[in-house]
């Protein structure tokens, strides 16, 4: 069941575009700011996170867009399984296909830019906890805006403010780590957001989809 959905996603070239976008933007920054390691080390975590937000934003429509266009979404709603479960499967697939590779690319580029190792570790944890939240919150907004003519723009306007708390806590964690302080509080906060999003977002997505289809 889950495999089918992942399979359906795997067949799309457009999946790679956000990832390439992500890599490109991160690579562009050192060109813009020069090779001052001290400056780069301060700017790059934020860059990586903002780019991750934008790349996720780009890829979000893919969760339901093609299903909406070809009518699969009707069949998914009418299947004999609870819609919330199927939505969870779709969001998981989305995260595996964007969030996960994004983390790997981020780690790789940060490594290339000779990031201090202990900060790299914190960055990794913030991304690991944060990107699933991005997919989860994003799914709700996509389900709400799907099929609207100017849906893409509206989607960004709805989503980006909602992403702010995650960005704030992720950045706090990285900054604290750089200053040599504990990051437990921030990571717990991010975990809390993840748990909250995991519990509520699939339900909200499922009901938004039902509303959009009627």
């Amino acid at each position: 069941m889950w495999r089918d959905i992942i399979l359906a996603f795997r067949h799309r070239a457009e999946l790679f575009n956000p990832l390439i976008f992500f890599t490109m933007v991160i690579v562009l920054f050192p060109f813009a700011f020069g090779s001052d390691i001290g400056l780069l080390n301060r700017v790059m975590p934020g860059t990586i996170w903002i780019t991750a937000l934008l790349a996720t934003n780009l890829s979000l429509e893919g969760i339901f867009r093609s299903d909406f266009d070809d009518g699969s979404i009707e069949q998914i709603i009418l299947s004999g399984y609870p819609l919330t479960l199927l939505v969870i499967a779709k969001i998981t697939a989305h995260w595996c296909l964007t969030g996960l590779p994004l983390i790997i690319i981020a780690m790789f580029t940060a490594f290339l830019l000779s990031f201090p190792e202990h900060v790299l570790q914190t960055l990794f944890f913030t991304l690991l906890l944060g990107t699933p939240v991005l997919s989860l919150i994003g799914a709700v907004a996509v389900a709400l805006t799907i099929g609207l003519r100017s849906g893409g723009m509206l989607l960004s306007l709805i989503i980006l403010p909602l992403y702010m708390p995650i960005l704030i806590f992720a950045m706090l964690a990285v900054e604290n780590k750089m200053a040599g302080m504990s990051v437990d509080a921030e990571l717990y906060f991010l975990s809390g957001m993840l748990v909250l999003a995991m519990t509520l977002a699939p339900l909200a997505t499922a009901s938004s989809l039902r509303i959009r289809m009627s």
Binding site: D4, R12, L78
Partner: protein, 223 residues
């Protein structure tokens, strides 16, 4: 064409409980009353054709019957229970084919049928190759749907009916973009379904040649 060996979860003939009952259905869209006070009762083996001009609410009626849309008023019950109360159970026994085929263009016919089967949750096992052969879609291994014609895609979409093995078929314009042989294949399927005790509601504005069972009609729009 030999009939497929299908068995339904509840193969018994209609009793008072097992029917599909619609009462006082009303649909209002954009402040226009599309239809009101529609009532009918369908038992095992019944066939209902929804007629009406464009915009008379045929699709809306079928979407409401499928549970995709809420009616403005009225009630739909299946086996004596309102369909919103037993949503998943109803959905397991019902197949809806709308204007859109609900198939993935980037997958092959086989892969699409696999997904349909997984989604339907039906344990039955008609070999998928048999389904494809029945719809004259054989010999297309490895060809993704975006390289097939509109009629062939429609056939893959309609293959859902055979894969899911449900008792109620709700078909919105099933004959769109099918050629005459495709149309007669589907007509044949509907007849077989009806003879096996299934219920079919379909809308079309093409003349239908269905022999062997009687069709009831419902007219929407101005008379």
């Amino acid at each position: 064409m030999k009939p497929l060996n299908t068995t339904y979860n509840n193969a018994g003939k209609a009793t008072g409980e097992s029917g599909f009952e619609v009462s006082g259905l009303e649909c209002i869209r954009q402040d226009i009353i599309l239809f009101q006070d529609i009532s009918f009762k369908l038992q095992s083996g019944d066939l209902l054709q929804v007629d009406g001009v464009n915009g008379s609410g045929k699709s809306s009626l079928i979407r409401i019957l499928a549970g995709l849309m809420q009616p403005s008023a009225g009630e739909i019950s299946w086996r004596g229970r309102n369909i919103s109360e037993c949503r998943y159970q109803y959905q397991k026994e019902m197949s809806y084919i709308g204007h859109l085929n609900g198939v993935k263009n980037t997958l092959t016919a086989d892969e699409n049928l696999e997904i349909m089967k997984a989604l339907s949750g039906s344990p039955q096992s008609i070999p998928l190759s048999e389904v494809l052969a029945k719809l004259e879609l054989g010999g297309m291994d490895g060809i993704t749907l975006n390289r097939l014609s509109a009629g062939q895609k429609r056939r893959v979409g309609l293959a859902r009916l055979l894969v899911t093995n449900s008792k109620i078929w709700l078909l919105d314009e099933p004959f769109t973009s099918l050629d005459s042989s495709g149309k007669s294949v589907i007509e044949q399927l509907i007849v077989e379904h009806s003879l096996q005790g299934g219920i079919t509601v379909f809308s079309t504005h093409q003349p239908v040649e269905i022999e062997g069972c009687s069709i009831r009609h419902i007219h929407l729009g101005k008379k």
